[in-house]
Amino acid sequence: MLVSRRTVLKQVLFVSAGLAVLPSCLHEKKPPAYKVKNIELSSDEEATLTSLADVMIPNGEKPGARQVQADVYAMTLMDDCYTKADQEKFKTGLQAFRKEWKNGDEAFLKKMEETAPDASPASAFYHTYKGLLIQGYTGSEYYLTKVFPYELVPGRFHGSVLVNKG
């Protein structure tokens, strides 16, 4: 246990140090490659998915979308569970979205929030990806053990309980 934790810590320190001394390479850093078979993603497109996941549910005291791998889940679902047509729509939407959104541009995201999913390819992408990130987040081990614990064996059903006002 102790050894492996130390190893992990060392790796974390090494990665942090690497980032610290190579700031000019940041824009070239490889984002985590999503293991998708049916959708082709350039590394820039992957970077957008990663950045948007960070912006959508940011890390902090409580983990964000990427810390619980909600982005990995989102792309697994898109890759495995959607039709070819939906995947193409997602990809086209992602490309349109990338043209208009720079990381940090909150105004554009606010606009997306107010735009109906079917209003434009970018909006369709935004709402689909957001929905998948939420699914991934609320279905994660973190969420279902720490936030709203999932009961595998409830052992009870009460049909009429007063709502707790507290």
Binding site: P58, S140, E151
Partner: protein, 569 residues
């Protein structure tokens, strides 16, 4: 032709049961308890209680797709993927479309579970008795043929199987839905209790009750002997229950039969046909194809129970041809495979209720409320025959607001709010068996095991359409009067079969000219062959049928063994 193994004693038994699902499991239990050396043939793989429930203890996040089907799974399985329970956690218990083809002359969604336990692992566990309003239906309303039995014939057998299976229910004292041997009910929700009260005050002939279901809510000695424990309200029944909280062949009848020492269970054994000996004037055994090696063999016994599931039982009998029975065993009248029927599950209604907001629920519940049939129950009162039962649920889901992004969204996801009560009902309509609604075997096409492919030629009729319309009208009226709002009605137009209540083709009746089976589920013309699964049903009524198959099976085994002792079989 298959090999002949007449000299091999291991191929000789006192009884053969074809199928290990809900009715086959009962036949196995009853025969072995009475001391008969019993062979159970199951076409699928073995599924051992506890050991072979691979997903039963998995947490939601351990499923790669959190329960959803992949696009490939949907495309590969256009039929079975329509079934509500065919999801990531239970798809290993369903037949995949490509593995077992059939020919749909009219669309028929045939949902199958080929394994030890069959669909008893997957059923919805609702167990409502029939009454004489159901058994007398065909005679009163002039369709099909008269049932050769009445409620009184089956009542003691309902009690017999209920005590062993473990049925949770309320004594409701309704003539149309007789009470049984009940373990304590689970709770109705506040809104279900409200609607129950509302309906009883406003309609003299309509009722909302707790749906009786095969869950051990308070284990009795007989359940402890089976190694079954109290239902833990996981609501994950389709994965197989590690507590044996609900009744399945795997948790209950099959291990019980094994304990007697008289059971031989052979999985991966596809029954090709029943062997008929024209000189003896009876069936002598069955031809079996090994599911994996395709090797043929034969087994012999003085009595044969066919419990292969409704469609498969029809296939086996139709494929059991001989000089005496060129059109299928016991089929002189040509009605085998005909008068096939099902339950009409097309219609659903949903809405919300903004009252009783000071209440909610706690925990989970693997059943819901039930509205017994009220249409045309005592007498004919509409322009369609028969009627429908309905489920009823009133649950209060909580949700997180998905608004915004960044910390706003994150905060939202860390809170949950209670929404209004959501209510809904689904229709369970009786359909009328007709001669033109039929199964038959293809003349040329065969499956991998050399068995002809079955054609399904079954559809809806005008009576069904009128019933859907009436369901929407009546439920809308009841819901509206009760103060439910945002009502939405939906006709799924789903094909017959998806109800998974397919019945008939080998119907019971008084007369060998118009039916295949007598009042003991015995082929009129071959007295040592019995059919006690869904294939035997003369009419369908509205109740979920499994409990009736269990009672018919136990009754028929009791009769068969008595007849064997008398030397009549």
């Amino acid at each position: 032709m298959p090999n002949i193994n007449t000299g091999d004693t291991s191929h000789n038994f006192d009884a053969i049961v074809i199928g290990s699902g809900i009715s086959g499991g009962w036949a196995a239990k009853e025969f072995t308890e009475k001391g008969l050396k019993t062979l159970v043939l199951e076409r699928g793989r073995d599924v051992k209680h506890l050991k072979d429930y691979p997903t039963t203890s998995m947490m939601p996040w351990e499923f790669k797709h959190r329960g959803q089907l992949t696009q490939q799974q949907k495309e590969d399985n256009p039929v079975v993927s329509k079934c509500y329970a065919f999801k990531e956690d239970a798809l290993h218990f369903f037949v995949k479309d490509k593995e077992h083809p059939y020919v749909q002359d009219q669309p028929f969604d045939w949902i199958r579970g080929y394994q030890v336990g069959g669909k008893s692992l997957l059923w919805a566990r609702q167990t409502q008795r029939w009454s004489n309003y159901d058994f007398e239906g065909p005679a009163r309303d002039g369709f099909a043929v008269d049932w050769p039995i009445r409620y009184e014939d089956l009542a003691p057998w309902y009690s017999y199987v209920e005590k062993f299976a473990g049925i949770s229910g309320n004594k409701d004292n309704l003539p149309g839905l007789p009470d049984g041997e009940f373990l304590p009910p689970m709770d109705l929700t506040k809104v279900e209790a409200y609607f129950k009260d509302f309906v009883s005050k406003n309609y003299s002939d309509r009722h909302v009750i707790y749906g009786r279901c095969a869950h051990v809510t308070e284990p009795q000695e007989i359940h402890k002997q089976q190694g079954r424990m109290q239902c833990q309200k996981r609501d994950l029944c389709q994965r197989g229950c590690p507590f044996g909280g609900y009744f399945s062949s795997n948790a209950s009848t099959i291990p019980w039969a094994e304990k007697t020492g008289h059971l031989t269970l052979k999985p991966d054994s596809v029954v090709h046909s029943i062997i008929y000996d024209g000189q003896k004037g009876k069936a002598t055994g069955v031809r079996v194809i090994d599911a994996k090696t395709k090797a043929a063999t034969e087994y012999f016994a003085p009595v044969i129970f066919v419990n292969a599931a409704a469609v498969n039982t029809n296939i086996i009998l139709l494929n059991s041809t001989s000089d005496r029975f060129p059109n299928g065993i016991g089929n002189d009248n040509g009605l085998l495979g005909k008068y096939f029927a099902f339950h009409n599950y097309r219609a659903v209604i949903s809405g919300k209720y903004d009252g009783l907001l000071e209440y909610t629920t706690d925990g989970k519940r693997p059943t819901s409320a039930y509205i017994p049939r009220f249409r045309n129950l005592v007498k004919q009162e509409t322009d369609f025959l028969r009627g429908y039962a309905a489920g009823f649920y009133g649950m209060r889901p909580s949700y997180s607001k998905p608004d915004g992004f960044g910390n706003q969204l994150k905060d939202n996801l860390h809170k949950k709010e209670l929404g209004p009560w959501m209510v809904g009902s689904h229709m369970m309509g009786e359909t009328i068996p007709k001669e033109k609604s039929r199964l038959f075997l293809d003349k040329d096409k065969k499956d991998e095991w050399g068995i002809p492919l079955v054609h399904t030629d079954i559809g809806y009729d005008d009576n069904d359409e009128k019933m859907v319309k009436d369901f929407f009208e009546q439920m809308t009226e009841m819901y509206t009067k009760a103060g439910f709002t945002d009502l939405k009605t939906h006709d799924s137009k789903q094909a017959p079969g998806l109800d998974i209540h397919e019945m008939g083709g080998v119907r019971m009746g008084h007369d060998p000219k118009t039916s295949l089976l007598n009042k003991w589920n015995q082929l009129h013309l071959v007295k040592n062959v019995f059919v006690t699964d869904g294939a035997c049903m003369t009419s369908t009524s509205t109740q979920n049928p499994s409990l009736t198959y269990m009672a018919l099976t136990a009754r028929a085994v009791d009769y068969a063994v008595k007849e064997m002792k008398k030397g009549n079989i």
